[in-house]
Amino acid sequence: PHVRSFHHHFHTCRVQGAWPLLDNDFLFVQATSSPVASGANATTTRKLTIIFKNMQECIDQKVYQAEVDNLPAAFEDGSVNGGARPGGSSLSIRTAEPGSHVEIQAAYIGTTIIIRQTAGQLSFSIKVAEDVARAFSAEQDLQLCVGGCPPSQRLSHSECNHRGAITIDTARQLCKEGLPVEDAYFHSCVFDVLISGDPNFTVAAHAALEDARAFLPDLEKLHLFPSDAGAP
């Protein structure tokens, strides 16, 4: 998948299997990815696991797990909030669009998470308070949201062959409709449409840009370009 880190690095990542996006004192987020097709370099996230860790008078530990074609509107234990503690309602989950868009509010740590399903893949976006994101020890050193994609796992677009009948011009045209600025989101969109042969991938890139627009405190950093962000 494409990863936009906290520090505005933008990488296309070949990571296969389970990799942590976040691992701190309050939150653990793990994305499980597999190749888009047999033998393909590019991978896509098919499972997301989020653990909200037990915290004082606010919440019991809660686990959220989403898989392609199973985007529940509840935590693993069937609950929709942080439990019976006095601040249990400071963690809540709601469905914006059943089966395709879930939003989790964790007010006790200043965090909002959006999980979407589009074109057989899962997208993850988070807005998190700075001191929550920084609350990890040296042992919790692998977090794609913090360090971006490790160099050995980065994928350049020339490493992938496109599938299906969609030409690059058609892919560019499809992506241009929702992403008029030719930034990292646009290039990711073209890459995804070419690699998968599925025009629905435009929706994932467009939604990721909209989430960034809603979540970034500084909109000047919204558009990332290859020259300044390591974008593909």
Partner: protein, 150 residues
């Protein structure tokens, strides 16, 4: 290696047992998991769990290996089962703006200040933004991360 943290947490949990006082507080076997009777076993199981978590980074540390053997001895001595409830999670968490000790169970609330959070007019401890703004006189900073596509 964070064995000293495990040691400190164990000492802290057994101190509270001793201050609790009854002789039964040091025996295993309360099926409902009551705080009193199985307190020491709970503390030992937590201690053992803590050492297991730190085993990789502590493998060359003498204090770590002493602790592992000490826990074994104490568990046998007090007839503690290996499986069972553990002590409440210790207070831990990130460096707090303003610093200072925190309340248990569970990690410290980020953005919290103990002096303020215990005052009668304290903000809702589970409203991060409100608490941070009140403590720092400005809204907190936020970060964004995303993963999508293929």
């Amino acid at each position: 290696c964070k064995i000293l943290r495990c040691n400190a947490e164990y000492v802290s949990s057994t101190l509270s047992l001793k201050s609790g006082g009854s002789p039964g507080a040091l025996r295993e076997g309360d099926p409902d998991g009551g705080v009193g009777s199985s307190g020491l076993c709970r503390a030992l199981r937590s201690y053992a769990l803590c050492t297991r978590r730190t085993a990789r980074t502590c493998r060359g540390d003498l204090a770590f290996h002493s602790a592992v053997h000490g826990i074994e001895d104490l568990m046998i001595q007090h007839n503690c089962s290996r499986q069972g409830p553990t002590a409440s999670p210790p207070p831990r968490g990130p460096a707090l703006p303003g610093g200072g000790p925190v309340r248990s169970p569970g990690p410290a609330l980020p953005g919290a200040s103990p002096a303020r959070s215990s005052s009668p007019a304290a903000p809702d401890p589970c409203d991060y933004e409100g608490r941070f703004s009140r403590l720092h006189g400005r809204p907190p900073g936020f970060l964004h991360c995303a993963s999508f596509g293929d």
